[in-house]
Subunit: 222 residues, 2 copies
DNA sequence: TTGGCTAAGTGATTTAGTCAGTTTGTGAGT
DNA sequence: ACTCACAAACTGACTAAATCACTTAGCCAA
């Protein structure tokens, strides 16, 4: 089964982006322009662009243009069409994080890189901004993975945590533990800064265990 | 900015699939049927379906129909539009796996579940089938994660390893270590079966370290 | 300088149709 | 009764030519 025209088109458009050295935020040629260039019609171009949109490779801005998306260089992604959250899936998520995050924290402690530590600090302080604040607040757990120096680990954690944002408000409404979170985050940062991998790992495990207990003790949510 | 018609449409189609209890492989209504049902036109429906196709939520079969895809219930995905492989990205991948997989193996050892162990055994033996064999061969490392009992860990590993298939042939051509792999896989399985988490973790780390050394000592590839 | 208007460019969607595969059932031939 | 060939009927793939909606930039007047 030969790849469809739409498939080849997505590859061609990605080629335009990559060979052109375009980065997230840059504009790509308009749909009409692409249609003319490939000698096809606009609906076909739009199908290809929609596929790229689904994976965050491009973004549409009505009336303005089409732009390179933030996750075009990602290797793994959070499924934008993932199933709705259930209590079970939340606990599964925390279990998975309990396996992965402590060793990632340990890795960050040994691979300490000054510039990433700064971002980690910022994430800790951002955590105390009131809800409704800027949406681009750094996420502590994602930055903790970023401090490992391996962008893949950051992607994995970011993808896993994107699931959470849907229900973040619900959980916070049930159990607002932001102050406690903040203290525990700060302790982890100190361990990472001290390059104490064992302590960073233990503190992260305890931190996530606390979160799990909070969720387990919370009543049902939709 | 209100969600576009296309966005709402993808959600509606997902609703049809989920409320209808459809599972991967099942057929969904034809594009014309969906267009009629939502009182819109087929190009619009196709855009929405293409978005779902990009994430593996649906699959097209020309002349036959549209079907529910294999990854519709995934939380994380391998980016189908990921950037081309480089030597650096391969080493990054192995580094990330070196962080994650050993603890996952340890988790599988403690969470031992008989039925998953059977699949793990099958994956080990499948590894020796000659190249060109069935494409649906179980992957040892994915099944090792599946044995942890947490489907999220399986998804993460499967997504990370999907990157590898593109270059798998290249690596194998440069350094065919299937027999050695097989021995090491078998040793890991035995540790898991014995519920020896510490040994499973150590063996997995050593195994990945060997792979890393093989890649590092290999000459450049495109 | 500021404000509002306008025109060009862009995405969003429609309408109507053709082409190209797949599936299924029917009927002729055995 | 069985089998094979073939013809609908259904499906996705794509085209063609518009119109609507939104954004941006420029211009002009207050």
């Amino acid at each position: 089964m030969p790849p469809s025209l739409s498939d080849r088109l997505t590859e061609s458009i990605l080629g335009i982006i990559r060979e052109g050295g375009l980065r997230p935020g840059d504009a790509i040629p308009s749909a009409r322009e692409l249609a003319k260039r490939f000698a096809i019609t606009t609906p076909t171009v739009r199908e290809a662009l929609r596929k790229l949109e689904a994976t965050g490779a491009v973004e549409f801005r009505h009336g303005s243009g089409t732009y390179v998306g933030p996750t075009i260089n990602n290797v793994v992604l959070a499924n934008p069409h993932r199933p709705p959250i259930t209590r079970e899936s939340v606990l599964q998520l925390i279990s998975a994080r309990l396996v992965i995050e402590p060793v990632v924290a340990a890795q960050s402690a040994v691979a300490r890189q000054p510039e990433n530590l700064d971002r980690l600090e910022a994430a800790v302080t951002n955590a105390l901004v009131p809800p409704g604040g800027p949406a681009f607040a750094l996420n502590f757990h994602v930055e903790l993975a970023a401090a490992s120096g391996n962008p893949l680990l950051q992607e994995v954690l970011a993808s896993l945590l994107k699931v959470r944002v849907r229900e973040q408000q619900q959980i916070r409404a049930l159990y607002d533990n932001r102050e406690r979170d903040h203290e525990e985050h700060q302790a982890i940062v100190e361990a990472v800064r001290a390059q104490d991998a064992v302590r960073a790992e233990r503190l992260t495990r305890e931190h996530l265990d606390n979160i799990r207990q909070a969720v387990e003790s919370a009543p049902e949510f939709s």
